[in-house]
Symmetry: D2
Subunit: 349 residues, 4 copies
């Protein structure tokens, strides 16, 4: 850390900072500049927080040199994390991007779900996604079928061999969801629900962590760190758009550059969700392509057998024929391009 | 609702919209414009969601005329909601703004907490606040004392008569927190943790709901609606700053205008938290004053007996002498001004 | 327009709105809903502004059905605008994306500029870009060589046959810049400098209009409308990133989805600038690729013969060897892919 | 400056940075940390820009310790800047906040303008504001009367003794506007029109500089620095709201905390514009009060003799009776409170 003192900091202020640094095992090096005194602190940041130093009298600011996440950092682990499933599917590294598709929420119509799952299988998708418990901004909206949905998902897995992704909203449902899901999803609105992060940190299933609507990349990686620190290193990040000042044409602003930024700073796999990321059906194809070309490890898209009758998010879902058309193009893109995936194929710096 | 059809919508598209409206008991009135066809739909929006209509072929957009929240809306209940405690303290309406102060997190130092509580009592504060369970962006930061903190808070209540405010982070702690707290706080990062909202909706204690860092006012009121819809109408809103493009000088951007905006559209009380809202000690006084002058029903401020040693958020905490100085000025402001609080004293429109 | 009256609007309020609509030749259709009265106004919006209606007593809100831009709108002109230069180069429609490269600002080193121009020629670029007048956030930074820079650019054009793009900052320089440039650039900070838009609207050269750092897409298209309305329909839009709440890793957030959104709503060509859009050299390649794959009509990148000595924006510039490496990949991408450019090849909706 | 090198920076990279620092007269002090090498650079930042260092190989980041503005900084000039007019009116320091009111744009109705000016005089306002040249987002909106408007303003000044504030949009109008105006306003959209800043820097009239819709406080102060650096130190800053992710209830988010933040870091006076800052008539009173209570040196409000017929921004204008009612309250607030204005009366830190 670098501690920059106020212009008018007293000798006592400076000494107090040095004392606390020493108490915590830091080496403090003092530089008296023309305006400010600056203290370099070399040591282990986990033992003394930035905010404690910031609160001290005479301290102007405290700057971190190292990123505050560790386990999620590329500095600590240079190799890409690859998550492997029992059926051989792999996410991350130099592997082909995976596809996760399905309805926003699983509805009381197993046939519809099965149609989607069969189409997914046909197009080479590896994962079936669908919500059993849905976070809904308004209490008047459909909030999910609950366990029945999980059963339908498991049934569709039996029928197709697809892996199942579903969202966990509450610690109390952890065992239930783990029983049915192959991958547990943490939704954007729960990205900083630290109890939930801790809970999935203690379970053995891979976790998809969606970026919060206003989460910085640092906050996003720190949320992943919560899961990893609690024992689960199988974290898949998911970029799904951030809030912006313009919501006239898109629901969120899908931050495509987050993919190469995160690839540079973290070894974790990252996928892109153009359905939530844009909220517009016609943008799914171009934004999925953009995600793939910048190195995403997977694409998550909402597909519904009858979007106009979907109980949630129909506007951003593809119908089955649209899905086939779009994913044929995505497969073609992946087949054609020498994708530059994984750390050994990074972009020109 | 007003449904605006695409320029090239077909007669079938239009008929399909009319059919679904009729099925749900809406009266549909058709207007063929020079460019677009527009359908006025009169009926009960809770039976048919906006998003379902938006997903239909040929629909360009669906505009709501009424706000989607109901129980929280001033349209439904014109009188200000006033929340009254057993000791006679009242929040909302034409009542004097209340003060809620205390450390960010309760630490293992009961004497320090008691000093803060006694100072609070002396300055006319009604509430002691303090975190037992702390959401922390980084897993390496102090995350609260847990039940011991709740015991300390209760002990300080015994000693001073102050009411206790503390945050609930997880449904599993609901009974525990209810046993000790007079007011349950839902933190900003949990504003859309719908399970938690539902849970506190079913309990009998007043709830402080903090605005999410990127929550629109509509999302904020819909989160309150979740609590109210589940049975608890004692909701106190709390403005605590939103994310902005500039975090060089302040941690968040405290949205002072949210107070009069919400007063116009909702009957719920609203308080202001300048500590989290700015993250800067020197801004607590001016921003608390700004909150009071625009009609806030209370001010929540972090006070610590030794901010430089606080385990969290020391930078934005007042020391006890600073607290006394600032709150003497706030009391003076309230005494001096004919505050225009409550619906009967609204600002000039 | 649709005018939604307040719940408590009086009959006089409603009549006043109908009267003003009639005065301006609108047909007003009245609907009395269960809560609000709604007035449909059919007519020519240019004769009566939305804001005037909004200011009337009893009016709750006024909603536009048609977008407020006209000449820039795809509704008015379905065919893609293609801009053609005397040397046969074309921008827009189904044409191959163009490349515009060069230093942020032209410095007093013609040889360096020529090296860049020659490399550009070699890699198949069509345009040499470079600033003669530079907008600089701080008055202490280098603000451009002025006319000498224009001369160097013209000299490099002589030597290579590249077309010259340079920024106009002030109406007084219009003739000077027109004398030297093939394309006039309006910078992001001047996107709403309406005098400048008017001036370039009256000149005959194509104009690159950069999106303002916080401009909505509607504001962006309205700025283009200013130029077109004043007589110049040769407008090339340029997405160059917007302000976001996270500037730790990128200078701006490059809004890749703006390309397909604008393609849907406007016939104007749009290019992408990943240098300013990210501020990071290592992001130029992936974000250029993302721009191309979503249908951008060109890519603008900063290239400097010695970035570490550049007087401006060196951090986001490629060196000549880096440029060659990246653009070989971009050319390869364009050659390999069946790009879906122009209106006849739109993405799956 | 503090230069933080990449983890894998070579000895050559480090030496190159030291060399360039030495060339520019900086003293470079090297610290080899456990992960990164850090270089402290002591010297005059105007001779070597941050961005040049950032572009060098092996440099991770460059952090400024001092703010990049100088003339605008409180560090350089501790005393509040007070701007005094020939009629004795003063802005800044411990002086009573001034009031600037008038129509958004001056229309072809001198009597209406005179009514507003007379009411302003009656309520103790010092300035009459009104636009002669109006920046308009759409080319189809009214863009000002031009010189005729300036004549009307001058005529109203004759009649009332009020000082005249009007916006300059283009360097070519500088002499014209200076002939009529007592204070020149630079609009928010022109905050980074550096040619305009330079031009008003060379004139002798006080300048009101409005904050850009997405300008950080640092960018805002650097824009003021442009004016000051070019010779005019009479700069009045104006907070008028910033873009946010929520525009459902307010046009902009008025950043009240910007007032005490800027007071701490700069000696320049700052006023608040709640009309543009909120876009809502009913928010003018509370937000003007909030501005005053946090120490603003003035309030600028739109007043129109007939808002429902205003050619621009009627929705955010007060009528004359509303104006009188609101400003009576503002005068009362100022009379009642011991305002803590100027550096000698700062808030509790």
């Amino acid at each position: 850390m670098i501690i920059i003192m106020e212009k008018n900091a007293t000798a006592e202020n400076i000494q107090a900072v040095i004392n606390i640094l020493n108490e915590h095992g830091f080496r403090a090096i003092l530089h008296e500049g023309d305006v400010h005194t600056v203290i370099d602190a070399l040591g282990d940041k986990t033992t003394l927080s930035q905010s404690r130093l910031e609160a001290m009298d005479g301290v102007n600011q405290v700057k971190l040199i190292r990123q505050p996440y560790r386990m999620a950092s590329r500095d600590r682990k240079e190799e890409d994390t690859v998550i492997e499933f029992s059926n051989g599917v792999k996410i991350g590294g130099a592997n082909r991007p995976v596809f996760m598709i399905g309805p926003c929420s699983v509805e009381d119509d197993y046939d519809g779900l099965l149609q989607v799952a069969q189409a997914a299988k046909e197009m080479g998708c590896q994962f079936l996604r669908g919500g059993a418990f849905k976070p809904r901004t308004s209490p008047y909206d459909f909030d999910g079928l609950g366990e029945q949905a999980l059963k339908y998902l498991a049934q569709a897995r039996e029928a197709t061999g697809l892996l199942v992704v579903t969202e966990l909203m509450d610690v109390v449902d952890l065992d239930l969801v783990c029983n049915y899901a192959d991958v547990i999803q943490i939704g954007a609105r729960n990205m900083q629900n630290f109890r939930l992060l801790k809970a999935v940190g203690k379970c053995k299933k891979p976790v998809i962590l969606k970026r919060g609507p206003a989460a910085t990349i640092q906050e996003f990686l720190l949320a992943a760190e919560h899961i990893m620190y609690n024992g689960n290193e199988q974290v898949i990040l998911c970029e799904r758009g951030v809030k912006s000042f313009d919501s006239a044409f898109t629901r969120n602003l899908l931050d495509i550059s987050a993919v190469p930024v995160i690839k540079k700073h973290s070894h974790l796999p990252i996928i892109v969700d153009p359905s939530h990321g844009t909220g517009q059906r016609y943008l799914i194809e171009p934004m999925a392509k953009a995600g793939i070309i910048v190195g995403a490890d997977g694409i998550m898209v909402e597909v519904h057998h009858n979007p106009a009758k979907a109980l949630s998010d129909g506007k951003q879902s593809l119908s089955i024929p649209q899905f086939k058309e779009v994913f044929a193009k995505l497969n073609n893109l992946i087949d054609t391009l020498p994708l530059e995936k994984g750390k050994t194929n990074s972009f020109t710096e």
